[in-house]
């Protein structure tokens, strides 16, 4: 079963909810219009389309546009050896969507990571804690508005982070600035 067929079957099952996106580099992607229905779509993909393997869940931050978040699911079927990408967009105001950890248990840690690094919550997740940063860390570092140099934080007597100015790179300078700070703004702490 080619991946296009999987996308078509999703469309016949869910109708207008599924939007097929143009193929890029022979990869099939569909978009789910309503993030609240993502768990239903995934459950159908697993039960009826044989996508028994969840490779990955990713989040993308399109800072400055609304909806801000895109959640990307990479599905795979060990029976038919086809990959299918499902995307859904979540707006910043809610920053929440249903979990798929009851469908594939591997989603547990992927969703925790997204919550940890981007601050998107998964409703119904059994254990939505930070996974990479420590408990009580106040920021979401993978957001586009979090500076690359970091922000100072303190976990008294246990851990701390300091802003780490970039020394010598990366060399993506904006030309025409009068001084170094203007030409390489990310090399300095932009906000407190």
């Amino acid at each position: 079963m080619p991946p296009q067929e999987l996308a078509q079957k999703l469309q016949t099952q869910f109708g207008a909810l599924i939007i097929a996106l143009p193929e890029f580099r022979e990869e099939t992607t569909v978009s789910v219009a309503d993030p609240e229905r993502i768990a239903d779509v995934c459950a159908f993909a697993k039960e009826s389309l044989g996508c028994n393997f969840l490779l990955d869940i990713t989040s993308v931050d399109d800072y400055g546009t609304e909806p801000r978040w895109t959640i990307v699911y990479e599905l795979y079927g060990l029976g038919h050896h086809c990959r299918l990408r499902i995307k859904t967009q979540v707006n910043e105001e809610s920053s929440e969507l249903p979990t798929v950890s009851s469908i594939w248990r591997t989603a547990d840690w992927h969703e925790r990571e997204i919550y940890d690094l981007m601050g998107i919550r998964f409703r119904g997740h059994p254990d939505l804690r930070r996974i990479i940063m420590w408990e009580g860390y106040p920021y979401f570092p993978l957001r586009k508005d979090f500076p690359l140099v970091g922000k100072p934080t303190e976990l008294p007597e246990v851990a701390f982070t300091r802003a780490a100015p970039l020394q010598g790179g990366p060399f993506v300078t904006s030309a025409g600035g009068k001084n170094t700070i203007e030409r390489e703004p990310r090399a300095r702490i932009t906000e407190k």
Partner: protein
């Protein structure tokens, strides 16, 4: 010191007597009640294993809740090696990120380099333009990395359960691979060998003969390891039927690599979605039957032999010709031309300051790495830097099964199970 008498304050005798009397009156000695005994028997102890425990291979912390010697709950705590690789990737050109991939699975940096550049090449749609020589050399790199990583995996696994000799044998061979890496790339660990559209340098003179020599030696070494372990009674007792992962559980938790194949699932990216020239090479994919630690060990041993077989084929078939795509807008032009020709100078300047010009779009590309499926999801808005680069790290996913797998096992099985999983925290925490 022995004669020194410590001064201890005693309450006055009368006060002590009255306290004792009050105590006697308050609680006449009674046999322990049923509740007391139950509490005593089922008492749970919390044990922190790691983040710096020899068998955690880095900085994994396991919070184990123990009932006697039996684990009743296991909570892995990761993130001690988090460096924000994905954030860093969004802020530099595609080529600048190659050295960071060395530090993901730092036991197989060559394989990471290849997997990452393949993902970028897929985004740029130049995957099919790669020269044959480049593809063969990349496969050799991947398979040498696999042998190296598995030698360490098996060696440390054996050391964790008490067989130190194996570790010494496998590390001797690993040194030879590092020597090969050194003459190939100039570095033993942090290779940064691949470039988008090619390689940083060609094979040095006499390298293929050194490589063949190594392959002849490693086969002998593998046989020795096999003789030390496979029918060793202690080894078998420590690993057989320990940490059994049924097929369905392994799939549900998204395990990949030897851990998945140890459970009998026939999924190898090199076979299912062949990249480079894997579809022209002959090799078998070993599978386990039970999914215990012993099966995972056997799978790794056989994978090393298959890798030897692949490298032999590659060396036999190794074509000549250039190693880079002849496109100045993708690959750095030769230095000689940069200094003499205007066009090449411009290409050099643009590539170094702005990077390759990738089209907008998104791709997911995965490669069969020693630890499992290493995938890169690249979301591009066009230009030289990714908008989002997600690393699907096999170690991260493989470790997520521990809370399910460990409960019910003895605490002394933990080193065996962790050893058989062969994870790397550099990749897990990114």
């Amino acid at each position: 010191m022995a004669n020194r008498i410590e001064e201890i304050e005693f309450p006055e005798a009368a006060a002590r007597a009255s306290q004792a009397a009050a105590g006697m009156a308050a609680q006449t000695p009674q046999p322990p009640s049923e509740d007391d005994l139950q509490d005593f028997q089922g008492e749970k102890m919390v044990l922190n294993m790691g983040p710096s425990h020899p068998s955690t291979h880095g900085v994994l912390r396991l919070v184990l809740e123990l009932d006697g010697e039996i684990i009743s709950r296991a909570t892995p705590d990761i993130g001690y090696l988090h460096r924000g690789d994905e954030k860093i990737a969004e802020n530099m050109t595609y080529t600048q990120f190659i050295p960071y991939t060395d530090r993901l699975d730092y036991l197989a940096p060559l394989a990471n380099n290849v997997a990452y550049t393949l993902a970028v090449e897929k985004l740029m749609d130049i995957e099919k333009l790669l020269t044959p020589r480049c593809q063969y050399i990349r496969v050799i790199c991947c398979e040498l990395a696999r042998i190296s990583a598995h030698l360490l995996g098996v060696g440390c696994f054996a050391m964790d359960v008490g067989a130190l000799t194996v570790f010494l044998h496998t590390f001797t061979e690993r040194e030879k691979i590092y020597n090969l890496c050194e003459s190939l790339t100039g570095a033993r660990f942090t290779t940064s060998y691949t470039r988008i559209g090619g390689l940083s340098r060609d094979l040095p003179d006499g390298w293929t003969e050194q490589c063949r020599q190594f392959l002849r030696e490693v086969v002998v070494n593998l046989k020795e390891v096999e003789e030390l372990l496979t029918r060793n009674r202690i080894w078998v007792d420590r690993t057989r039927d320990v940490g059994v992962l049924p097929r369905e559980v392994a799939i549900d938790y998204g395990l990949t690599g030897p851990n998945l194949r140890g459970s009998g699932v026939d999924y190898d990216v090199r076979k299912a979605h062949p990249y480079l020239v894997y579809d022209q090479l002959k090799f078998d994919v070993p599978l386990g039957s039970v999914g215990d630690c012993y099966d995972r060990y056997l799978v790794r041993m056989e994978e090393m032999r298959q890798s030897v077989r692949i490298v032999h084929q590659c060396l036999d078939q190794l074509p000549g010709g250039p190693i880079n795509i002849p496109d100045g807008k993708t690959v750095l032009p030769p230095k000689k031309k940069v200094l003499t020709s205007m066009e090449e100078l411009i290409h050099q300047f643009i590539l170094v300051t702005q990077g390759v010009n990738a089209p907008p779009g998104e791709v997911y590309h995965s490669a069969e790495n020693p630890k499992g499926e290493l995938g890169f999801y690249i979301n591009s808005k066009g230009g030289g830097t990714p908008h989002r680069l997600k690393i699907r790290a096999p170690s991260f996913v493989n470790l997520s099964v521990l809370p399910h797998l460990l409960p019910g096992h003895m605490i002394s099985d933990v080193p065996a199970i962790l050893g058989s999983f062969d994870f790397v925290m550099g990749e897990c925490d990114r």
